[in-house]
């Protein structure tokens, strides 16, 4: 188990550094929209990897709900930015998130069986925890548009649910 915790801790560090980039300059609404959308795409990609590798029903069930939920939330995000006339803007945080996630996914892809299942679920807990921390501490407080803020608040509830769901799956693996 130690290996997974170390991998998780590494990701935690990377994410901390990623969102720390905005410590002085708050992200703008177009940047926030891009970060939130990117965070969803990253989790969909991780879930697709799990669906292709895992044979554990609890793990694939969790992964499928990540694909469905994040897709639905991102579809709503696209509809909202269109309505608001906001063009999502790529930024250093989105780019760092993608880079970290690519690295993590490559690590996970090398694992199989129970080792993969455990590492994937542990990573999902760490990932959601840190995206939730960023939503609460930075993205929601920084959002200027009321509808975007409200959308992010609902998104936070969805992601907090995912964090707990992942914790339940992890507890059943022990």
């Amino acid at each position: 188990m130690k290996t997974y915790k170390v991998i998780g801790a590494g990701l935690v560090f990377l994410l901390g550094a990623t969102f720390g980039a905005f410590a002085e300059d708050k992200p703008t609404d177009p940047q926030i929209a891009h970060i939130a959308y990117t965070a969803g795409v990253i989790d969909i990609d991780a879930a697709k990897l799990a669906l292709s590798k895992s044979k554990n029903k609890a793990v694939t069930g969790f992964a499928q709900s990540m694909v469905d939920d994040h897709q639905a939330v991102n579809n709503q995000a696209l509809a909202l930015v269109k309505k608001l006339g906001v063009t999502p803007e790529d930024n250093a945080t989105s780019q760092a998130l993608v880079k970290d996630a690519d690295k993590k996914r490559a690590e996970l892809a090398k694992l199989n069986g129970n080792a993969f299942d455990r590492a994937y679920v542990e990573n999902e807990i760490a990932y959601h925890k840190h995206v939730n921390g960023a939503l609460k501490g930075l993205l929601i407080p920084s959002a200027q548009n009321a509808e975007l803020k409200s959308f992010l608040q609902t998104g936070l509830k969805v992601f907090q649910g995912h964090e707990q769901h992942a914790e339940h799956v992890a507890a059943a693996q022990k």
Binding site: T154, K157, V158, G161, H162, Q164, H165
Partner: protein, 111 residues
């Protein structure tokens, strides 16, 4: 046209009745109790039912939810759809959404 002839007192009483209804637990109407799911919450969170009543969950979210009892039954509620369960004697329980366990609800069964 009835609405046009309502006097002020009737409107006020209507408001009081609506406020009272909102503050008490939902009860069965025609044997069915409705629970709306919106923005990741069961509304009302607590319902009062009798054995044989039907509970109908209406999911207004774009994502799937469940009404799950730990070690017991589970009802799947697809996005934008409704699902039901006929109340049994042992249904006085706390339930949650298995996909989003931060969503919780409670069922009280009355004799």
């Amino acid at each position: 046209m009835t609405a046009l002839v309502l006097d002020r007192r009737q409107i006020l009483l209507g408001g009081v009745a609506a406020a009272l209804a909102a503050s008490t637990r939902a009860r069965a109407h025609n044997g069915t109790v409705h629970v709306t799911i919106e923005n990741l919450a069961f509304v009302p969170a607590e319902i009062e039912v009798k054995v044989g009543n039907t509970i109908e969950w209406v999911n207004k979210d774009p994502i799937a939810h469940t009404a799950t009892v730990n070690g017991g039954w589970e009802v799947m509620i697809p996005p934008g759809a409704a699902a039901t369960r006929v109340v049994e004697a042992s249904d006085g329980v706390e339930y949650y959404c298995r996909f989003h366990p931060n969503m919780t609800g409670r069922i009280v069964v009355r004799a």
